[in-house]
């Protein structure tokens, strides 16, 4: 029987990890990820979770220990944020080409300087090209569900890739939400045992992470690309079967009153919920607006995006990270390039908002839509707009 509880999202996520029965959790604390790893340490300490908790001395070592653990064939979890992810960066790159299914929750937080502990997506963007599957969630339920889904996808023999579940720091990690918990039996039914095909094992020696000369390197990178793109089929299937088992449906691009709407607002992460309220109010006032939410950041869902925006005239893309001196927000840049060669495409307006935890209110989103429509009609000298900044 499923249970609905009011619970802090970090704790719920850690409980979801527990239900997936990992063998190794290696982690280093950083705000706002701390509650996740603290709760896991507690579960291990209390004997509620039979896993090795490796309290490493840095994030670099956290991800390194995860590499070793996953290579040995163990189910492996870690979590981090911001500077921790930046320190891990070198190691994060290694996991995907070595096909090690490590699952990592990223409690998204701004990167220094100035020091900030609050949410934005700068950390997520810094690992965009590491080859990981990256799922972005919007609320606590999605965080719990997609943590379970991440293990199933990453460890699937057709995939064998590391997976990040991105959840906004504080806005999600530290809020208490009503969350539906599946039972252990349901999780066990949904998530098969981890069977890493070529683990480090003296009975059957393998060499992993060798030195790749130019004669072989490009082939390995191409294989990595093919592998990541192909993982989408498995992700869709895992989401589908999750829907069948638990009645909650996830899609790479989720639509909210978007069919036929001429103006679309595109969000990624927790800002999507506030934006949805703004959309409701604008629609009630007779405006032809809808919303799309990007759930799958890597592999990027080109087809689903193109399909979702095909009838719109204006697409306002919300980003929570900068690409300094670059063309637009990172998400908007990708959306633009995904649409550029399409015969029929909306005008794309890039809005950067809510950096380092700055709130954007319901009225703020309405304002953004209004201004975005004006820009789409009249144009702007800016490559992108930044919202709510004091100049």
């Amino acid at each position: 029987m499923t249970i609905k509880t009011g619970i802090e999202v970090s704790i719920a996520l850690a409980d979801a990890v527990k239900m997936c029965n990992p063998d190794v959790v290696a982690a280093y604390p950083i705000t706002p990820q701390t509650h996740i790893v603290e709760h896991l340490a507690e579960l291990v300490a209390n004997g509620e979770l039979d896993a090795e908790y490796v309290p490493v001395e840095s994030e670099h070592s956290a991800m390194s220990a995860c590499l070793g653990s996953a290579a040995a064939g163990a189910r492996t979890f870690t979590a981090t944020a911001s500077q921790g992810l930046a320190l891990m960066n070198e190691v994060v790159y290694v996991a995907a080409p070595m096909r090690l299914p490590i699952i990592m929750a990223v409690a998204n937080r701004a990167l220094s300087a100035p020091l900030s502990i609050w949410a934005d997506h700068s950390d997520m963007m810094s690992v965009r090209d590491t080859g990981w599957i990256q799922i972005v969630v919007e609320n606590g339920q999605q965080a719990l569900d997609n943590t379970i889904i991440a293990f199933r996808v990453g460890e699937d023999q057709r995939v064998l890739l590391p997976v990040m579940v991105h959840l906004d720091g504080f806005n999600l990690t530290h809020v208490i939400e009503p969350i539906i918990f599946p039972t252990q039996e349901e999780v066990d039914k949904y998530l098969p045992k981890n069977r890493f095909p070529l683990p480090l094992n003296p009975d059957r020696p393998v060499a992993m992470g060798d030195f790749g000369p130019p004669a072989i390197f490009m082939e390995t990178k191409w294989a990595q690309q093919v592998n990541l793109v192909n993982s989408k089929k498995v992700i869709l299937q895992a989401w589908d079967e999750f829907d069948k088992a638990f009645g909650r449906k996830y899609m790479p691009v989720e639509k909210y009153h978007s069919d036929g709407a001429k103006v679309l607002l595109m969000t990624m992460g927790s800002s999507g919920e506030t934006a949805s309220v703004a959309i409701d109010e604008m629609r009630a006032a007779g405006l032809d607006v809808g919303q799309i939410r990007l759930r799958l950041w890597r592999p990027f869902p080109f087809e689903e995006l193109r399909e979702a925006v095909k009838d719109a005239d204006v697409l306002i893309v919300i980003d929570r990270a900068m690409s300094f001196g670059g063309p637009a927000g990172p998400v908007a840049s990708e959306v633009k390039s995904a649409l550029y060669n399409q015969a029929k495409k909306p005008k794309v307006v890039s809005y950067i908002i809510s950096l380092g935890g700055r709130d954007t209110t319901i009225d703020g989103y309405k304002d953004i839509v209004k201004k975005g429509m004006e820009i789409a009609a009249k144009g702007s000298r800016n490559e992108f707009e930044i919202y709510g900044v004091r100049e």
């Binding site: 070793g68 163990a74 003296p202 393998v206 060499a207 060798d210 030195f211």
Partner: protein
């Protein structure tokens, strides 16, 4: 000597865990030391290799010199990767996975990957008490990137980033004392070894791996390329390092120091320095300074040995 030649091969098992056919330079002491180290072990070992000469010369795709399960990920995280493997085996075994008996994790790295960039990860792993062995193959510089100084490069050695010149004597600092740093973590086993004393080396590696908990073995590995020494003198250099007291051979078992090869009289350091191009520029004054320092450090170890045996006696 004749008998030695007859019996020695019989004492060492035939199988090679580190197979012939690799890309090391001619006369590489590191390749020799690795071969010796892994000959001392059964094949119940998982090897974690840091970036550096050893990884590059043994693993170029699509070939490998390793007959053991082997993993390389990065330069500085070898001890952390080993931690993860050890933890994984512990957890999986506890949960009833069918895994080979008595599997051991051995992490290997150069002096750069050990005493500089990887020191934090190594310290973390030793402190947490993982059951694994870390072996540093110390060729006294970053050889893989072309002989740059490390903190393990000896005082006065000329390298490409500590070149001897009008205003420079070469390496300006004294060699970092990695065995002491490892021992300061209060781990059960620390030892020094070198390929010029192969049985000593093999016995120590075997002992380290059989130790429950973290063990650290520091192996001086002559690099003719970086040391600017003839390729056929590596074992002679290795033995001279020991005989001059430059690289004493000892063990630290649960904090108790024990000399492995005692030198009642040390040879003068010039015997060691003169065979190597990296020390060619040294003046007599600098050599005298090195002589002094070597004697001082050697006495310190003897003191430690004395304290150790006293402590052992009072305990007994």
């Amino acid at each position: 000597m004749e008998k030695y030649a007859i019996y020695v091969p019989r004492l060492v098992k035939k199988e090679e865990n580190f197979a012939p056919g690799h890309r090391a330079c001619i006369g590489c002491g590191e390749a020799l030391a690795i071969r010796q180290a892994f000959k001392a072990l059964d094949n119940n070992v998982i090897v974690v290799n840091a970036t550096g000469c050893a990884e590059i010369f043994s693993s170029q795709l699509p070939l490998t010199s390793w007959q053991l399960p082997w993993i390389h990920t990065l330069f500085e995280n070898t001890a952390a990767v080993a931690s993860g493997i050890e933890a994984a085996y512990k957890a999986m075994r506890r949960k009833g996975a069918q895994l080979p008996e008595n599997t051991k994790v051995v992490a290997i790295g150069g002096d750069g990957g050990t005493s500089d960039i990887g020191l934090q990860a190594l310290s973390g792993a030793l402190e947490r008490g993982h059951d694994f062995t870390y072996i540093c193959f110390d060729n006294e510089a970053y050889m893989n990137t072309g002989v740059q100084r490390s903190s393990s490069t000896p005082f006065g050695a000329s390298t490409t980033t500590s070149p001897a010149g009008k205003n420079s004597i070469g390496q300006f600092s004294w060699k970092k004392n990695m065995p002491a740093i490892a021992a300061a973590h209060n781990i059960p086993y620390v030892a020094t070894a070198t390929h010029g004393y192969p049985f000593d080396l093999m016995a120590k590696v075997a002992k380290a791996v059989a130790t429950k908990g973290p063990a650290y073995v520091h192996i001086l590995s002559v690099c003719p390329t970086g040391w600017r020494s003839p390729t056929d003198t590596i074992n002679r250099q290795s033995r001279l390092a020991v005989q001059t007291g430059v690289f004493p051979l000892f063990e630290v078992e649960n904090g108790v120091y024990k000399m492995s090869v005692d030198m009642p009289v040390l040879r003068p350091v010039t015997d060691y320095l003169k065979g190597q191009g990296r020390f060619r520029h040294l003046t007599e004054d600098t050599i005298a300074l090195i002589q002094q320092r070597v004697e001082l450090e050697y006495r310190k170890i003897l003191e430690n040995v004395k304290h150790g045996s006293k402590a052992a006696k009072t305990q007994g």
